[in-house]
Subunit: 545 residues, 2 copies
């Protein structure tokens, strides 16, 4: 358990929520706070009580519903208004009454902002800082001070910027946080400024870095190099504009590269799970290419590496993925050779190491399928079905005699529901489109015909296919199509182009992806659907023909 000598301070719920597209309910915030506690942060900034009803409610409910193991809940707010005593400023008393044991106050530290945005004097700014910190301290709260626009301020007027730090430390702030609010700093300058300010003021310093230069993680580490012992981050780097320093990258670097214990024992390995769960809660697809915790973070594609990775994975990875709860994955692609297919096969449970001929045959078939537009790197289930075929044990639950889909739209009377202001140009009087699919299958030697409607041609096909089989394979009802991706392969040849379809199914516990390719988008979808349902039945344990 890390002591108070280093603070991992999370502001996902306050600054992270400024990201475009994020809109959290109180329940979301409580759930995210629990996840952040799992990952072992020391402080969770929950919001600004008093600034809006949602944040006020969050702090009220947190008292009962948020038993935190590692973290201390922190309220965010501003210093008192000018010429008003802290006790008479409702914004400050809301902080006092929030129930949070810790308060982060934001203050201006750039004298231009003091003058133009705050419209007061530098002296009054310092008094506002000192008074508010003392007031909250007297009421038993710890206080951190966020110095907004500190680096620009220090560049423009170093005396005032330094006075803010000295004043805050003198009034009892436990850490003075230098904020790169517009995110424009680069690491070398951060190191220099933090070193100078630390030497000049003797204050305990923290860092809050925005990512507008793409350097928020490096800037945070640069401040630590210069002596900062308090880092402010957000899960997945969420935040205004480009975002904030990514909590998982900062903690990953400090734990694994600096070899500093900044989160409690066992928490580091929760990072991958927490990253993905937070993404689900904020309803943003997880960033697959995120350092440490992305699903691609340890995925190897290049044929150049694949053969050597087999021999010695540590030579090719900057860290052991299991330390952060992640895994190494091998991708099969036209750049990879036999070694990566062998590795992939063993991941899927097949040992091909002693059958060179088989391995060559699979590699050859993968290569020629990839030349015609297939891509197996995301389609594990298709690759497994292919491997099983080549191993002489093809999986087959049904045989398609034919399928057909009819899609149509008829014009509707003028009273049609398409409102004029949501109609595309020229579409003001169109009826609803319809799709209807018929499949003819042999299922256990029975010929079955089924027809279903859908909200599009692929949805109709999916329904007809299940409808034809669910009498025999009742578990089909548990499978669900959860993702459908279309990629046009030849960008310049219009509807003649080859289409690649990726279809993802889930059975509630896990999911799998298959791939289909063809000039005809419906046909390519059929190929992927057929495999996805076949693979789903295999997972359900049905014996295959």
């Amino acid at each position: 358990m890390p002591d108070d000598s280093f603070h991992v301070f999370d502001t996902t719920l306050r600054d992270g929520a400024q990201r475009e597209g994020i809109n959290l309910t109180v329940a979301d915030k409580l759930a995210i706070a629990r996840l952040l506690d799992d990952v072992g942060v020391g402080f969770i900034e929950g919001g600004w009580p008093g600034s809006n009803p949602k944040d006020t409610e969050f702090f009220r409910r947190a008292a009962d519903e948020l038993p935190l193991t590692h973290a201390r809940l922190t309220a965010f707010g501003a210093t008192r208004r000018s010429d008003v005593a802290p006790a008479d400023d409702p914004q400050v008393t809301a902080l006092r009454d929030s129930g949070a044991p810790v308060v982060t106050l934001v203050a201006k530290s750039d004298s231009r902002h003091v003058e133009r945005a705050l419209r007061t004097t530098p002296e009054e700014n310092l008094a506002m800082i000192a008074d508010t910190i003392r007031y909250l301290r007297e009421h038993g709260q710890r206080v951190f001070l966020d110095c907004e626009h500190f680096f620009d301020g220090y560049h423009h007027d170093p005396d005032h910027a330094r006075s803010v730090v000295r004043t805050a430390a003198g009034a009892g702030a436990d850490a003075v946080v230098l904020c790169d609010t517009n995110g424009g700093m680069l690491p070398a300058d951060i190191t220099r400024v933090v070193t100078e300010v630390g030497n000049d003021t003797g204050a305990r310093l923290g860092i809050h870095a925005q990512d507008d230069s793409g350097c928020a993680v490096a800037n945070t580490l640069a401040a630590v190099d210069a002596g900062a012992t308090h880092v402010q981050c957000t899960a997945n780097g969420y935040g205004e504009r480009v975002g904030n320093a990514n909590l998982f990258s900062v903690v990953g670097a400090l734990e694994l590269k600096y070899d500093r214990r900044v989160v409690p024992e066992g928490c580091l390995a929760e990072m991958t799970r927490v990253s993905q769960a937070v993404a689900e809660l904020v309803n943003i697809p997880p960033a697959t290419h995120q350092p440490y915790v992305g699903v691609s973070a340890f995925a190897h594609k290049a044929g150049l590496h694949a053969s050597a990775i087999k021999v010695d994975p540590d030579l090719y990875q900057h860290t052991d993925p299991s330390r952060v709860g992640n895994d190494m994955r091998m991708l099969v692609s036209d750049m990879a050779g036999r070694a990566s297919i062998e590795l992939k096969a063993s991941e899927l449970g097949f040992d091909l190491s002693c059958d060179r001929a088989l391995l060559g045959r699979v590699a050859e078939r993968v290569k020629s399928l990839e030349q015609s537009g297939y891509s197996f790197e995301a389609a594990d289930a298709s690759l497994e079905l292919l491997l099983r075929e080549e191993l002489g044990s093809p999986v087959r639950y049904f045989r398609a005699e034919s399928w057909r889909v009819l899609s149509e739209r008829r014009s509707a009377p003028a009273t049609d529901a398409r409102a004029a202001d949501t109609a595309a140009p020229g579409q003001e009087s169109a009826g609803e489109p319809l799709s209807e699919a018929t499949v003819k299958l042999y299922v256990k030697d029975e010929r079955v015909i089924a027809t279903e409607e859908g909200n599009g041609p692929v949805n109709a096909l999916d329904r007809a296919l299940r409808s034809a089989m669910e009498g025999v394979y009742t578990a089909l009802g548990a499978l669900e199509l959860t993702d459908y991706k279309v990629r046009i392969l030849e960008g310049t040849s219009g509807t003649d182009a080859v289409t690649r379809i990726l279809v993802t199914f889930s059975d509630g516990n896990s999911d799998w992806t298959t791939v289909g390719v063809g000039e005809n988008v419906i046909d390519a979808s059929w190929v992927a659907l057929e495999q996805a349902i076949t693979y789903g039945l295999l997972r359900q344990g049905y014996p295959h023909l």
Copy 2:
């Protein structure tokens, strides 16, 4: 125009293509190379000729189809195999014969890799490097050497790592590139190592940084701080695992923060456009929260100082967004929406500046269409048709009574042409898919019915639509569908998801794009097709109803 003293080296087409999910056709690669040239990079690494048919074809076609203004095309390859002369190594002669004026060779610089992956001696490794560089230099090519796993190698065995740099420089490599292949480095160590190696060897050094620690941009800049004058990057940071140093962030920092001219005059402002166009070509949604070029990079959410931003934007932005071709956006304000519609309208030849009511109406309709999934950014033709409707002059050449498309496939006899090794799993005996479309239209008050076949449902619809009208509008024969893009919109799942279709037509002189959205992919395609043909007839000068 920057001289040779600093190299911005792009490897999107080689290392960037290693990103999971990217699979480029030759046409894609040629189109991306043109975009990279627009943004002013000095070198474009096109691929590894000889390693696969696609890259070989790329270099063959590049000779004719790729007139580059700023960049020099670069081929990637390895040093000769051990115990083989360069002239006898087909991989080396393929580089020689690629037609590329510049070659980047990759070599091992970590003695553990030399021993375990290359299975040769350090001395032979140095000979392989020297021989291959000399051989290509003798054939008139410039050579850069990529030192794979340099930093780990330097840590483990600094003597061999330094020898690799000295040997390469001595043999005539123009730059020796230190690669952080597994991406685990942090900026402070990069600065230290690059400084030491530069002092020890006197070689011209470059940097190639992977982003596994989230520090690739900062690592690249740290190397420049230590004297490196050659930076390897990829558009949007695409690359294996987490990715590479993002070209736009690195160039943005060097130009705007270091104040160094590293791309030709005028190119910096192309970055935002190029970033988005490359994302379209690789079919990955543009990273909205990317530094400098993301749509959210300068988007301000209402918060602490919303009003102040308008008064004094420079206090709140780390750089002027117009320098990189981007814009500031205020997220809670329809002012920006109106202003851009007004601007767009005047671009299209309509002056809306004195009709606030109309402007508001158009903004409202665009906003609600965008909420339902439309995007007019790439679909000028749709926006123009919408504007004309709102101006009281809708363009209409025909009225659709109904359309329908039938797609089907029947199983074929065992002699079917689908060869087993290009069949997807379970597809060995399938027949050819067919699509047939029927449209019923009113054209100049005549009711017309036409039925056509196509290689897919949208192709069949396109043909039927033209077939119904070309007796009346003979110029239809000159229009051609040249691009068709499908994007599944986020936020919904599976085949219930909303689909956005972009269709591009050309009349040989110019092209235009329209957009259609719907749950049904065929219906969304119809909406876009109908507009594209309408707009084409307008351009051909037919008077409309």
